[in-house]
């Protein structure tokens, strides 16, 4: 049961993380300290929020993939013929991820123009990826009929749609950041947004590569 393995790992990971970052052995009833330390993790709340959100999305995709793996062995299954465009799309998404990372570096070094151009490139590549996914849908569509045909095709639609929706969510945030950029916000105020966008883009790239790998090899 892959469900079990993935999720116990995830859940225990969270708990273990707590044991590490916080002293759960403190005897709080005996504490003599004048003002105990807060013990909060020194990180922007937005950053923590994003990491928790990524844990939720990981959980979502792990479950989809577990369902895929379990459904494979049940019946009326035939593998999907991977449209070649998916290779191109993957490269485009890698490019988007690199561009976001460059925007982040540029912002860290105070290079306003560099950050802006990298941001625009990242956004355009992400849109290109989404367009490429739509083309992949069209290529898959006629070759195997959706309805009672291969569930692998249905899984491909669902997984790529869910991934695409998460990317669109990221693009909305990116759009907001770009708007603030264009409106003349200081680079220092945008740094956190750019950092988080980059992290989220890397995460979505990773998710896509795992999904693609599952479709190819599982």
């Amino acid at each position: 049961m892959s469900n079990t393995a993935i999720f116990t790992a995830l859940a225990t990971g969270v708990v273990a993380w707590f044991l590490v970052v916080s002293r759960l052995t403190a005897k709080s009833w005996e504490s003599q300290s004048e003002k105990g330390d807060v013990g909060a993790i020194r990180m922007a709340p937005q950053r923590i929020g994003l990491w928790i959100f990524m844990a939720v999305v990981t959980s979502l995709f792990s479950l989809f993939i577990s369902a895929y793996a379990m459904r494979m062995h049940v019946g009326a299954w035939c593998h999907i013929t991977i449209p070649n465009i998916l290779w191109v799309n993957s490269l485009v998404l890698v490019g988007a991820s690199i561009a976001m990372q460059r925007a982040r570096w540029a912002a860290d070094h105070g290079a306003r123009d560099g950050a802006r151009s990298a941001l625009v490139v990242g956004g355009m590549l992400s849109l290109a990826f989404l367009a490429g996914q739509l083309m992949a849908w069209q290529q898959v569509g006629p070759s195997v009929y959706f309805i009672s045909g291969s569930p692998a095709v249905a899984f491909f639609y669902v997984l790529s749609a869910v991934h695409g929706l998460h990317l669109i969510g990221g693009l909305l945030v990116l759009g907001r950041t770009t708007a603030r950029f264009v409106a003349g916000a200081e680079l220092i105020d945008l740094r956190l947004s750019l950092q988080l966008c980059a992290v989220y883009w890397h995460f979505l790239l990773l998710v896509w590569l795992v999904v693609f790998g599952v479709l190819l090899y599982l």
Partner: protein
């Protein structure tokens, strides 16, 4: 109104003055909490009425002709789903979580107030979509709250058309709302605690809500996955869950799907869901018992560790709901073992509650009565859980009223008793008014004894083999006449308990207007929410300065202290020492 969660400043970053922005489209966690609670309780009342209708049919079959079998299944389904998700989850996390986390942690608000507000409105949308299913052709789904395919989407099941779609869509929307709220609760606990509030000084209420939120964030995606795939099965004809089926003499287009896969996904969410409801109840009841017994909670660290252990283990017990599903029998062995293991931390908590009461200065206030009532019902429901957790005992009891009695006792009545206790406990802080004590006690005794009158006999019905989910029992050989009399008496008890809730509503509404003015700290409690400068707390909670915490939340009856409680924000007197060491240094 929106505040920065942890800044030492009294001015909100955004301060609207209109009624609409202050009380409707509000970003204040207290207003959002009350909005969540009102919607959850309202929709819970709908579910209560549905259960009354079901009981009328079961207690007096062939009497109420306006209830036909289809209606009955729709009532079952909606009752279950509303109670578990739209009432209990929303009330504990959206309601109490929102209200208590910032106040108990010493923050001015949640860290993402705007998202918190959206969370409520999206939740309301989920409720409205669910309620809309009562008004569409075919009515709401009657698939049972577990929504098992293939029957959930097949013609013949009530609401197999629009009803099931609306249910799945509503669940999807709810999960979005929950995720927005959940991100807030977890991040606020991690980031917005005031100075001195270490994790191990947090009240157990916050611990329970915190861990339940983490469980929800990891487990709700399983429900989302199953809802998405089932929606596609029923609308586009995919075969994720749907096997080849001949329905009404016609072969449907589905082929090869696995209903068992749905069950795995559903219960992978469904079992943690039990603890999403139970952990906040565990936390809150710990605080109620400690406060009203004037004694520190017994084994605080053990309580925290037990919450964490239960949280982790709750992900590896799900298939104990599926012993009769036809899955590999060896799984049964594994899941029976994990199920019995999870009983260990749970039992530790129960012992600690009882030991907290031991030699305590017990004040039998209304919240305390509900808290003690919870210990009874929870032990009761927990023990029958041990029966059902064992495969060989579960097999004959599965799908009988024994199961109905078990889960109502353990995750229906028990959490609801805590909800009531918590409402009575925090009502003075939330509204600034006291309620009528006599009516509160009447409400408690009617509810507590009434629920026993309902569920105790159901165990007996289950052992006789009376099957659950049946619209009417008819004349069946193995069902003696006594079953019919018991069913009638259960129905009468259920109607009395339902009426008792009117006493509660009446008490709350009249107290809101005419109740005695509440002092800031009527229970003489130590936790921060009782130390706010205003009652009810104003926006921003704390006035100009954030509180500073010097001690844990359970300094009750400390030897040598001048009162029998020391608030968390009271500095340590060097002459006296702190906490349990008070008095040693004199």
């Amino acid at each position: 109104m929106a505040y920065v969660a942890i800044a030492d400043r009294d001015a909100p970053i955004h301060d609207p003055h209109t009624f609409f922005l202050k009380y409707i489209w509000s970003q204040d966690h207290k207003v959002i909490a009350i909005q969540y609670a009102i919607v959850a309780i309202s929709v819970g009342l709908v579910a209560l009425v549905l259960s009354g209708l079901m009981r009328l049919q079961l207690g007096f079959p062939n009497t109420f002709h306006f209830i036909d079998p289809n209606d009955y299944y729709q009532f079952i389904t909606m009752h279950g789903m509303i109670m578990v998700i739209y009432l209990l989850t929303a009330l504990f996390l959206g309601g109490f979580g929102n209200y208590l986390i910032p106040l108990m942690c010493g923050a001015r608000d949640m860290v993402f107030p705007y998202m918190n507000m959206l969370s409520f409105w999206v939740y309301l949308l989920a409720v409205l979509v669910l309620m809309a299913s009562f008004f569409v052709p075919g009515g709401p789904t009657g698939a049972g709250w577990t929504l098992y395919p293939p029957q959930a989407v097949l013609t013949g099941t009530p609401g197999a058309g629009l009803g099931i779609i609306l249910m799945l869509v509503s669940l999807g929307i709810f999960i979005v709302a929950f995720t927005m709220g959940g991100l807030n609760y977890v991040t606020t606990v991690l980031q917005a605690r005031c100075r001195g509030m270490t994790l191990m000084r947090m009240p157990l209420s916050v611990w329970g809500i915190f861990m339940a939120t983490i469980l929800g964030l990891l487990a709700f995606p399983a429900l989302l996955v199953s809802a998405v795939m089932m929606t596609l099965d029923s609308t586009l004809g995919t075969s994720f869950f749907m096997p080849a089926v001949i329905s009404m003499g016609q072969k449907l287009g589905h082929n090869g799907g696995s209903p068992l896969l749905f069950q795995h996904l559903f219960w992978f969410f469904g079992h943690p869901e039990v603890y999403i409801v139970a952990l906040p109840a565990f936390g809150i009841v710990s605080d109620l018992l400690s406060t009203h017994a004037r004694k520190n909670i017994f084994g605080y660290r053990m309580m925290v560790w037990a919450i964490l252990a239960i949280g982790g283990l709750s992900f590896v017990v799900w298939a104990h709901h599926m012993y009769v599903s036809g899955m590999n029998p060896y799984f049964g062995f594994f899941f029976a073992t994990t199920t019995l293991i999870i009983a260990v931390p749970t039992a530790i908590k129960v012992y600690n509650w009882v030991l907290t009461l031991w030699k305590g200065d017990i004040h039998l206030t209304v919240p305390m009565m509900f808290a003690i009532g919870f210990i009874f019902t929870f032990i009761h429901g927990g023990l029958t859980g041990l029966f059902l957790g064992n495969v060989t005992v579960d097999l004959p009891l599965s799908d009988t009223y024994f199961v109905v009695a078990h889960f109502h006792m353990v995750m229906g009545v028990s959490p609801i008793l805590v909800v009531f206790g918590a409402i009575y406990h925090w009502f003075p802080k939330i509204t600034g008014r006291m309620w009528n004590v006599t009516l509160g006690k009447v409400h408690f005794w009617m509810t507590f004894l009434g629920t026993y009158a309902i569920y105790l006999p159901m165990h007996y019905l289950g052992i006789l083999g009376v099957p659950r989910r049946y619209y009417a029992l008819g004349n069946t050989d193995f069902i003696p006449d006594s079953v019919h009399s018991i069913n009638a008496s259960i129905t009468i008890a259920a109607l009395i308990v339902a009426a008792a809730q009117l006493v509660f509503l009446y008490n709350m509404i009249t107290s809101l207007r005419k109740g005695e003015k509440a002092p800031p700290n009527p229970w003489r409690a130590t936790t921060l929410e009782w130390q706010t400068p205003d009652t009810p707390p104003h926006h921003g909670n704390w006035g100009p300065k954030l509180p500073v915490v010097y001690r844990w939340a359970y300094d009750y009856s400390v030897p040598g202290a001048k009162e029998d409680f020391i608030p968390q924000n009271e500095p340590v007197d060097p002459a006296l020492g702190a906490g349990r060491d008070h008095g040693k240094h004199r």
